[in-house]
C-alpha cells in the first residue's frame, strides 16, 4: 500500500494552519474596525429631520445663544429640545408664510408634537448629564462640534466610551472657563494644559479615580 500522505502534505498542513490563524486575526481586526467605524458610531452622518432646521443660520448667522432653545442644559441631565412655542416666538413674526416652516405652524395649530430624530444618541445604559458638564467648563462645541457651521446637524464625535474616558481621565485637555462654555467661537489657548489644570483646581473637578468610576455613568 502506498503512502497516504505525500511529503508535501506537511507543507499543506502547516500553511492551512497559518491560513486559519491569519484569517482569524483578519476577522478579528475587521470586527474591531467595523465597531469603531463611523458606520457603526454614526459619526459625521447628516440626519434628515422633519424640518430642515439650520443651526448654522440660527447660531452662526443670527447669533442665538444655545440656551435660548436648550433651556434645561444648566439645570438638568437633559439639555431640552425647544417646544414648538419657542419656534413660534420668532416665527409668528418672521417668515410667517415660508413653506419650509409649515410643519412648525401645523404643530402649533393642531397641537401635535414635532418628532425630531436624536442625533447624539448614547446607549440607554449610559446616563450622561449636561448640567454638570456645562458647570465644570466643558464647552458645547467640545462634544457637539462646530454647531454654528452645521446647516444640518450631525454627530461630531464618535461617542465611543474611549472618547468619554479620554476627557474623564484628563479633563484639563478640554475644559475652558465657564464664561466661554456657550461661545462657539472660543479659541483653544496655546497653554491649554496649564490653563486646564488651573481650572480643574478652581472648579473642584474630581480626580481621575472618581471620574472613571463605573457608576458615574452606568447604573
Amino acid at each position: 500500500m502506498s503512502q497516504l500522505f505525500s511529503p508535501r502534505a506537511n507543507a499543506w498542513a502547516r500553511s492551512s494552519l497559518a491560513a486559519v490563524l491569519t484569517f482569524g486575526v483578519i476577522l478579528g481586526w475587521l470586527v474591531f474596525a467595523l465597531m469603531r467605524s463611523s458606520w457603526a458610531t454614526k459619526q459625521n452622518e447628516f440626519v434628515e429631520q422633519p424640518i430642515q432646521f439650520s443651526h448654522a443660520h440660527h447660531v452662526g448667522g443670527v447669533g442665538l445663544d444655545c440656551r435660548y432653545c436648550h433651556t434645561s442644559v444648566e439645570t438638568s441631565a437633559f439639555a431640552g429640545i425647544p417646544p414648538t412655542n419657542t419656534c413660534m416666538n420668532c416665527h409668528s413674526q418672521l417668515w410667517t408664510n415660508a413653506p419650509i416652516l409649515e410643519p412648525v405652524r401645523a404643530s402649533f395649530r393642531n397641537n401635535t408634537n414635532l418628532m425630531w430624530i436624536r442625533v447624539n444618541d448614547l446607549p440607554d445604559f449610559v446616563y450622561f448629564n449636561h448640567q454638570i458638564h456645562v458647570k465644570q467648563g466643558v464647552g458645547c462645541d467640545t462634544c457637539h462640534g462646530p454647531v454654528d457651521k452645521m446647516p444640518l446637524m450631525y454627530q461630531a464625535q464618535s461617542l465611543l466610551m474611549e472618547w468619554c474616558i479620554d476627557c474623564h481621565r484628563a479633563p484639563e485637555k478640554y475644559i475652558r472657563p465657564r464664561a466661554e462654555v456657550f461661545n462657539p467661537n472660543y479659541k483653544i489657548p496655546a497653554n491649554q494644559i496649564e490653563a486646564g489644570l488651573a481650572l480643574k483646581k478652581a472648579y473642584n473637578i474630581a480626580d481621575a479615580r472618581h471620574m472613571t468610576s463605573c457608576s458615574v455613568c452606568h447604573r
Binding site: V31, L34, M35, W39, A40, K42, T71, S72, E74, T75, S76, A77, F78, G80, I81, P82, P83, T84, N85, S107, F108, N111, T112, N113, L114, M115, W116, I117, R118, D121, P123, D124, F125, Y127, N129, Q131, I132, K135, Q136, N204, A206, D207, R209, H210, S213, C214, S215, V216, H218, R219
Partner: protein
C-alpha cells in the same frame, strides 16, 4: 424528624439558638444539599429536550454572533418636545406632589414623584402626621396598579360597551324615578368613608331621598365581630414605656401602622446601654409583625383574649371586668404583667385589636382609664369614619332588603361584595333580584360581571378627592395623571345622582373646601395656616392645602387635647361558644393581597409575606403541635370545615401560632381577575360568615392527602447559622457593653489581607449604611420600595420556587428556641453589604463589578456576560441573576411606570443593590452645581426613605458628624460575617430585648 427529636437537638446546642425554618432545624440531608448548592435549583442543569450536542452547536453560533452584535448600529430614537411646555416642567427632573392613598376609607399620605407627567414612585409625605415620610407596602405598590393593563377601561351597560354619557342619562332617569318614591328602592353600598366631600354628597343625596339607605362593607377594614366600638383609640407609643397588645397588630396593619411604627421604634434606639427601652407584651392567636417585636409574646386562642384581658383588668383595678377560664401558662402572665402596667401609670398603653369584639375594646379602655393613660398615651375620639356602620350587620340588612325585592337601584361604589360578602348572606343570589345594579370599580371583577352597569373607577393617582388619616387629619387627593383608562371617581357619580352631571371632581372637592373655609357651611374646625393666621382668601387656602397635601389643625387629637369621647355602655362579652370542641378558626386577610383587591399586583404577590415569607399563595397556619397532631406538614392540603362550608387550603406550619387554631387567609382564589392574579390560591370566603368574620370555634380539619406547591423564600440565601443576627437582653447589655460584639467572631487583622488597602481609602465621600435590627419591625416595605425605585422585575411563582426572585434587599427572619413556642423572632434586612474587600470583584473575568472611588461596589450591566462567579463567591448571597428575560419589555402600559434613572436589565445579567447610586449621582451633581457641599441626609436610599422604623441609615463615613458614622461607633454595631474579612460597609446594630424578669422564670 419529630418535634421531640428537634427538641433534643436544640438542647444539645449551647447558647441561644436561632433558626429560619423547621427544615433548617430538622437539618435533613436534603436541606444541607439545598444550602450547599452553589446556585439555585436547576441553574447548573441542562434539562431541555434538545440534546447536549445541539446545545453546544447553538452556543457556538451564539458566541460567534455575540462579537458581531457589538457592531450593530443603534436604532433611530426620537425626541418629542412639547408644543407648549408647562412652565414648571424641566425635562429630566422629577416633580413631587402631595397626595393621599385612600384604603379602607383612611388616607395614607404620599408624596408622588412625577417624571414629565408620569407618576413613577410614591414616597411618604414627610410633613403629614400619619406618615412622617414613610409609607406602608400598599403605598409603594399602588403605583403599579395605576398602570395595570388589566384594569377596566370602558363603561359596560348590560353586557355592551357604552359611553359615560349613556350612563349619565340612565342613572339620572333611574334616580328621577326614585325621587317620586322618596328613594324607597335606592341603596348605596360603599366601603368605609372618611372623605368629607364624599360624605357631603351622600348626605345631600339622602336628604333628597329620605327613604334611601346607605350601607357599608369592607371585608378587611370595615368588619367588627360582636359590634363595633363606639369610640376610636389613637395611641402615642412614643410616650409609652409598657405596652400590652391584645391581638392588635398595630405595627403591621391598619391606617395608623406607619405612624405607630415611627413612634414605637423611637423607643427602641438604645444609643448607649443606659438608654431606656420600652417593653411590649403581645397576646395573639396568629403571629404578626407586632408579635414578632414583642419582648414577651403569648400565643392564645382568639376567644381566650377576652378572659385574659378581663384577668389583667381585674388586677390593675378595674371592677366588674368579668372573668373566664385561662390556661396555666396564660395564668402565669397575669400578675407580673399587671404589676408592670401598674408600675407605669400614665406611661403604659393597652391596645385592643380590630379583630377582637367591642367588649375587649371596652376592657382595654377601662384599663387605660385605670392606669391613667387616657390623655397621655391614648386618646379616645369619636370614630373618624363617617357613619360608622358595623359592616357585617350593614350588608346583612342590605341583603335582606334585596331578597325581599325592595331594591330597585343598587349603587356599589368600590369593593367586590360578590366575592367578599359573608357566605351566609347569599349576596350573589340576592343581587339577581335587584332591578338595576351599578358597580364602580378598578377592575371588571366578579361583582361587575353580575351588575347591570359597570363604570371603570379612576385610580387615586388619577382623581381629586379628600380623605382623613387615622388621626382625623384631612388629606387631599390630587391626581398625578389624567385617567389612563377613562375612569371616574365615586364623587362624580354621586354628583350626577344629585343632579349635577359633568361636574369635574376637582370643582366638587374644591367647592366643598372653599365653602367650608368661607364659613357658609359649618365645619367643626377653624381653618388656619401654619402660622396660626387665617388665610387671606379661599384660593390661598386651597393652594396651601394642596401643596401640603393636608389641612393641618384637622387632627382629632388637636380638636380637644386630652379630652376623650365618652365611652358608651359596656358591651356584653360575646356569649361563649356552645362548645369549645374542634379547632378555632381564625380569619385574616392576606397580608399583601388583602381581600383580593391587589391580586393583580405582581409586586405585592412576589413580596415575601411577613414571617412565613410565602409568595403567590394563601395558606392556613397551624402551630407545630397542632400540625403534628393532625399529621400534616407544609404544602399538605387540608379540608377545613366550618359553618357547613368547606375549603381545601394548603398548610403552612407557622411557629408561634396558638395551638388548636387554624388561621385561614382570605383574598385568593379570584375567579375574574387579570393576567397576574388568575388561578392563584384558594377562595376561603365561603368559610367566613357574618357572625364570625374573624374567629369562631368548632372548625374541623381533615387531611386530604393532596399537596400544593408553595413558594416561600424563607430558606433562600441562608448563611448557615454563622451568628447573622445578634441578640442580647437589656440587662446583659447594661452589664457588658461589648455583649453584642462578643457574640461573633472578630474581624481578622487587616495585615492578613491580600487586598490592596488603597481600594478602600476613599478621599471624597465614603458611603456606608447602618441597619438597626432593634427598631426594624420586619414589615418588608424596604423591599417594596427597592422594587419600585430600581425597576426590579417580577419573576413568578415557579421562578421564586427555584430561588430566583430578584429583590435586591431581603428581610431574613430568625426564630429563637423551641419551634412549638418560639421565644423570639428577629428580622434582618440584607442588601448588598458593599464590602471593602469584595469577594465578588476578584472573580469577575470581565471586570463588570468593580469598586467606585466612593467605596461602592459598582455593577456594570453592559459589561456583565453572566458567568455568575460573583454570586457564587458572595457570602451574603445578595446578587441576583436574570436567568430569563424577567423585565417586561412588551407591555406598553408598564413602560411609563419605570424609573427613567435606572437601567432596565435584560436576560443574562447580574444585578444588585448599589445604595441607590442614581440618587447619589443626582445629589452630587446638584451639590456641585450649586457649589454647596452635600449635607448628611441629602441622599436617602429608597429603603431608608420608606422605612417607618427609621431602621436604615445611609451616609458618608468620612463625615464625623453624620448619623451613620455615629451609629457605627455605638456598642451595638457589628458586621455581618465579619470574620470573613470582607469589611462590609453595611453594618448592623444588634437586637436588645427588654424582658420582664418576673415573667421570665
Amino acid at each position: 424528624m419529630t418535634l421531640a427529636d428537634i427538641r433534643t437537638r436544640l438542647d444539645g446546642l449551647e447558647g441561644r439558638t436561632y433558626w429560619r425554618s423547621l427544615e433548617e432545624l430538622a437539618d435533613t440531608d436534603e436541606f444541607r444539599a439545598y444550602v450547599h448548592r452553589e446556585f439555585p435549583e436547576q441553574a447548573s442543569e441542562f434539562r431541555d429536550p434538545a440534546g447536549r450536542r445541539d446545545f453546544l452547536k447553538l452556543m457556538g453560533a451564539s458566541i460567534a454572533l455575540a462579537g458581531v452584535s457589538a457592531c450593530t448600529r443603534q436604532p433611530v430614537e426620537r425626541i418629542v418636545p412639547y408644543v407648549r411646555q408647562p412652565e414648571e416642567i424641566v425635562p429630566g427632573r422629577p416633580l413631587f406632589y402631595a397626595t393621599s392613598m385612600p384604603q379602607g376609607g383612611f388616607g395614607h399620605p404620599l408624596l408622588a414623584e412625577n417624571h414629565m407627567g408620569r407618576p413613577t414612585k410614591l414616597e411618604g409625605n414627610p410633613e403629614h402626621p400619619a406618615s412622617l415620610g414613610a409609607t406602608d407596602i400598599f403605598g409603594q405598590a399602588s403605583v403599579l396598579t395605576l398602570y395595570d393593563p388589566d384594569r377596566s377601561r370602558t363603561v359596560i351597560g348590560r353586557g355592551e360597551v357604552r359611553t359615560w354619557g349613556t350612563f349619565v342619562a340612565a342613572i339620572t332617569a333611574a334616580v328621577n324615578t326614585q325621587r317620586a318614591l322618596k328613594g324607597q328602592g335606592l341603596r348605596l353600598l360603599t366601603e368605609p368613608i372618611t372623605s368629607p366631600s364624599l360624605v357631603d354628597q351622600i348626605r345631600t343625596l339622602l336628604a333628597g331621598l329620605p327613604e334611601a339607605k346607605w350601607h357599608q362593607w369592607d371585608p378587611v377594614y370595615g368588619v367588627r365581630q360582636g359590634g363595633a366600638p363606639t369610640t376610636t383609640a389613637i395611641y402615642r407609643f412614643d410616650k409609652a414605656d409598657v405596652i400590652l397588645s391584645l391581638d392588635a397588630d398595630f405595627l403591621g396593619f391598619g391606617p395608623g401602622a406607619v405612624r405607630y411604627t415611627k413612634d414605637f421604634s423611637s423607643r427602641r434606639r438604645m444609643g448607649t446601654p443606659q438608654d431606656a427601652l420600652n417593653r411590649l407584651y403581645t397576646v395573639e392567636p396568629v403571629p404578626t409583625i407586632t408579635g414578632a417585636n414583642a419582648d414577651h409574646r403569648l400565643a392564645l386562642k382568639a376567644r381566650d383574649v377576652q378572659a385574659f384581658a378581663a384577668a389583667v383588668a381585674t388586677d390593675v383595678g378595674v371592677t366588674g371586668a368579668g372573668g373566664g377560664a385561662l390556661s396555666a401558662e396564660a395564668g402565669k402572665w397575669i400578675a407580673p404583667l399587671a404589676a408592670d402596667l401598674a408600675a407605669h401609670k400614665g406611661r403604659s398603653a393597652v391596645v385592643a385589636g380590630d379583630h377582637q369584639p367591642a367588649s375587649v375594646h371596652a376592657l382595654a379602655r377601662a384599663m387605660n382609664e385605670a392606669l391613667r393613660n387616657v390623655g397621655a398615651t391614648v386618646t379616645y375620639t369619636a370614630p373618624v369614619a363617617a357613619s360608622p356602620a358595623d359592616g357585617a350587620r350593614s350588608i346583612a340588612d342590605l341583603v335582606g332588603d334585596m331578597k325581599a325585592g325592595k331594591v330597585d337601584l343598587l349603587i356599589i361604589l368600590g369593593g367586590n361584595p360578590v366575592f367578599t360578602a359573608p357566605a351566609d348572606l347569599g349576596f350573589t343570589a340576592a343581587l339577581a333580584k335587584v332591578t338595576t345594579a351599578v358597580h364602580l370599580g378598578l377592575y371588571h371583577d366578579e361583582t361587575a360581571e353580575l351588575c347591570h352597569w359597570h363604570i371603570p373607577e379612576a385610580h387615586f393617582l388619577e382623581s381629586w378627592g379628600d380623605v382623613r388619616a387615622f388621626d382625623g387629619t384631612v388629606s387631599l387627593v390630587q391626581p398625578l395623571i389624567a385617567p389612563i383608562y377613562d375612569g371616574h371617581p365615586a364623587i362624580e357619580i354621586l354628583a350626577t345622582m344629585n343632579g349635577a352631571p359633568g361636574q369635574p371632581a376637582m370643582d366638587l372637592v374644591k367647592a366643598y373646601w372653599t365653602t367650608a373655609f368661607a364659613g357658609t357651611s359649618t365645619p367643626a374646625w377653624t381653618l388656619r395656616n401654619s402660622n396660626g393666621q387665617p388665610f387671606a382668601n379661599a384660593d390661598t387656602f386651597w393652594r396651601h392645602a394642596l401643596h401640603d397635601g393636608f389641612i393641618a389643625s384637622t387632627s382629632a387629637l388637636l380638636a380637644a387635647p386630652g379630652a376623650s369621647a365618652p365611652a358608651g355602655p359596656a358591651p356584653a362579652p360575646p356569649a361563649a361558644a356552645a362548645s369549645n370542641a374542634g379547632l378555632e378558626i381564625v380569619f385574616r386577610p392576606d397580608p399583601h393581597i388583602l381581600d383580593g383587591r391587589f391580586i393583580n399586583n405582581g409586586w405585592l404577590q412576589e413580596l415575601p409575606k411577613p414571617l412565613s415569607k410565602l409568595t403567590w399563595d394563601n395558606v392556613a397556619y397551624l402551630s407545630v403541635r397542632t400540625a403534628a397532631r393532625l399529621g400534616v406538614a407544609n404544602e399538605d392540603v387540608i379540608d377545613v370545615k366550618y359553618g357547613g362550608a368547606s375549603a381545601r387550603v394548603p398548610v403552612w406550619v407557622m411557629p408561634g401560632t396558638a395551638d388548636d387554631v387554624v388561621a385561614v387567609h382570605f383574598g385568593y382564589g379570584r375567579r375574574r381577575t387579570g393576567r397576574v392574579g388568575t388561578d392563584l390560591g384558594v377562595d376561603t370566603f365561603p368559610l367566613r360568615t357574618s357572625a364570625a368574620p374573624w374567629f369562631g370555634s368548632g372548625a374541623e380539619v381533615t387531611r386530604t392527602g393532596d399537596t400544593h406547591e408553595l413558594a416561600s423564600t424563607q430558606n433562600h440565601f441562608a448563611m448557615e447559622g454563622r451568628h447573622p443576627v445578634r441578640v442580647v437582653t437589656a440587662d446583659e447589655f447594661r452589664k457588658n457593653a461589648k455583649a453584642i460584639a462578643d457574640l461573633g467572631h472578630n474581624r481578622p487583622p487587616d495585615a492578613l489581607s491580600l487586598y490592596d488597602p488603597k481600594v478602600h481609602e476613599n478621599t471624597g465621600h465614603k458611603w456606608g449604611m447602618a441597619i438597626d435590627l432593634n427598631s426594624c419591625t420586619g414589615c418588608g416595605v424596604c423591599v417594596a420600595a427597592c422594587v419600585a425605585e430600581n425597576n426590579i422585575p417580577v419573576v413568578g411563582k415557579a421562578q421564586v420556587k427555584r430561588s430566583r426572585e430578584m429583590h435586591w434587599i431581603r428581610v431574613d427572619t430568625y426564630f429563637e428556641g423551641d419551634p412549638a413556642q418560639p421565644e423570639g423572632t428577629y428580622h434582618q434586612p440584607v442588601p448588598c453589604q458593599q464590602c471593602e474587600n469584595a469577594p465578588c470583584e476578584t472573580v469577575c473575568p470581565v471586570a463588570a463589578t468593580v469598586h467606585s472611588a466612593e467605596g461602592l461596589n459598582d455593577m456594570v450591566y453592559n459589561r456583565c456576560v453572566g458567568t455568575r462567579y460573583c454570586s457564587n463567591n458572595c457570602p451574603y448571597k445578595v446578587r441576583r441573576f436574570n436567568f430569563l428575560l424577567y423585565s417586561d419589555f412588551t407591555t406598553p402600559e408598564l413602560y411609563a411606570q419605570r424609573n427613567p434613572d435606572v437601567t432596565i436589565r435584560s436576560r443574562g445579567v447580574m444585578e444588585k443593590c448599589t445604595y441607590c447610586v442614581q440618587r447619589i449621582n443626582h445629589a452630587r451633581v446638584d451639590a456641585k452645581t450649586t457649589g454647596q457641599a452635600l449635607k448628611d441626609g441629602d441622599i436617602k436610599t429608597a429603603c431608608q426613605q420608606v422605612c417607618p422604623a427609621d431602621a436604615i441609615v445611609f451616609g458618608d463615613l468620612n463625615d464625623p458628624t453624620s448619623q451613620v458614622t455615629k451609629l457605627k461607633q455605638t456598642d451595638r454595631n457589628y458586621g455581618l460575617l465579619e470574620d470573613l474579612g470582607t469589611r462590609p460597609r453595611t453594618s448592623y446594630l444588634g437586637v436588645v430585648r427588654n424582658p420582664n424578669e418576673a415573667l421570665k422564670s
